[in-house]
Symmetry: C2
Subunit: 204 residues, 2 copies
């Protein structure tokens, strides 16, 4: 494709990105329920009709904001998974970094949490895709540890789901809020527990 053909698309993508970024900011500042499409348009000095050219409804903007937040977590997880170092250390860093990123997003920012709760309650396929992507990242680390002999040989796919599920209390926005006042066990203790099982052998 030539740059000339690309240009309108690039402008459209830029507009979409600006709408999503503004919506995310308003969801944080005003709250998800209270923010309207008109509010988003006003911040961007656009007409609401122009916003609706890009997103059919507030719900579509909501999904785009959520996708972006989840995409940031996935990108950070990808970087950690592909980094150097033993599999055990990468797994530990992945769980602790996911917890820290989600805490920053959903615990510190209760207004953003409201947006997440709405998404979880609607059982979006987007969330399943996010979990599948995280499982794949966990699997990559665990498979490399099984390969290198750090972990016992076994079913890396099953092991990845087990570790991600065992750590759900530290990464799931709903549980992070619900158990914020119960700090034990810590995520570091849970990672050690999972590593013990991985070294001894899972699904082999």
């Amino acid at each position: 494709m030539s740059a000339v053909e690309d240009a309108p698309n690039a402008r459209e993508n830029e507009q979409r990105a600006r709408i999503v970024a503004t919506a995310e900011r308003l969801f944080r500042e005003i709250g998800f329920q209270k923010t309207t499409v008109a509010d988003i348009a006003r911040e961007l000095r656009m007409s609401p009709a122009n916003v609706y050219r890009f997103f059919g409804s507030k719900s579509e903007i909501h999904m785009a904001v959520a996708r972006q937040l989840m995409g940031e977590v996935e990108a950070a997880a990808e970087r950690l998974a592909s980094g150097p170092g033993p599999a055990a250390e990468r797994l530990r860093t992945l769980v602790l970094a996911s917890e820290a990123m989600n805490a920053e997003r959903y615990l510190a920012d209760r207004k953003l949490h409201e947006m997440v709760e709405a998404a979880l309650n609607e059982h979006w396929p987007l969330i399943d895709d996010h979990i599948d992507r995280l499982d794949a990242i966990y699997e990559r680390i665990i498979a490399s540890g099984m390969e290198s002999g750090e972990f016992a040989k076994g079913d890396a796919k099953l092991a990845s789901k087990l570790v991600r599920t065992a750590c759900v209390r530290f990464c799931h926005p709903h549980l992070m809020v619900e158990f914020a006042h119960r700090p034990h066990p810590t995520s570091a203790e849970m990672v050690d527990f999972c590593l013990t099982a991985l070294r001894a052998g899972v699904g082999s």
Copy 2:
């Protein structure tokens, strides 16, 4: 105390139990939000004023129903923990039975789930007490397995919190609903994972 002194108390307890049982039934049939104290009184052919002699508000009835449901789960868990057999088998049965009891209560019965969500969202101390009681039951089984040599010696209190937390997806009403369409990993696979870690040694 003589039977004569006891009698008024026994009658009061019976009245309270009838109110709680009727409220639970209406929460299941009509739903938690829609059930009023007047509905409960009508079912019992009592005046609402009489119900209020026992419970100051619908919220107090709600707590009594929740306490009863959680008490049933705790009583079943106690029986399993105190039963015969290896610690690994008791732990497996405990997790699977908790999952089955909660599935029957909160998945099959979405109206009852509404009641539980309300309780969880209000962060009742009752729920913390319930988790503490479950932790103590897990600890008893794990300590006996460490004692008998089935599990490696270690910190039974920490291990009990780790196992209960690793299995939260299978016992927490909110996650059971949210992940009902994602059956993997199964609770049996998670128990195997935890047992592998316990045999290898936790917090030692």
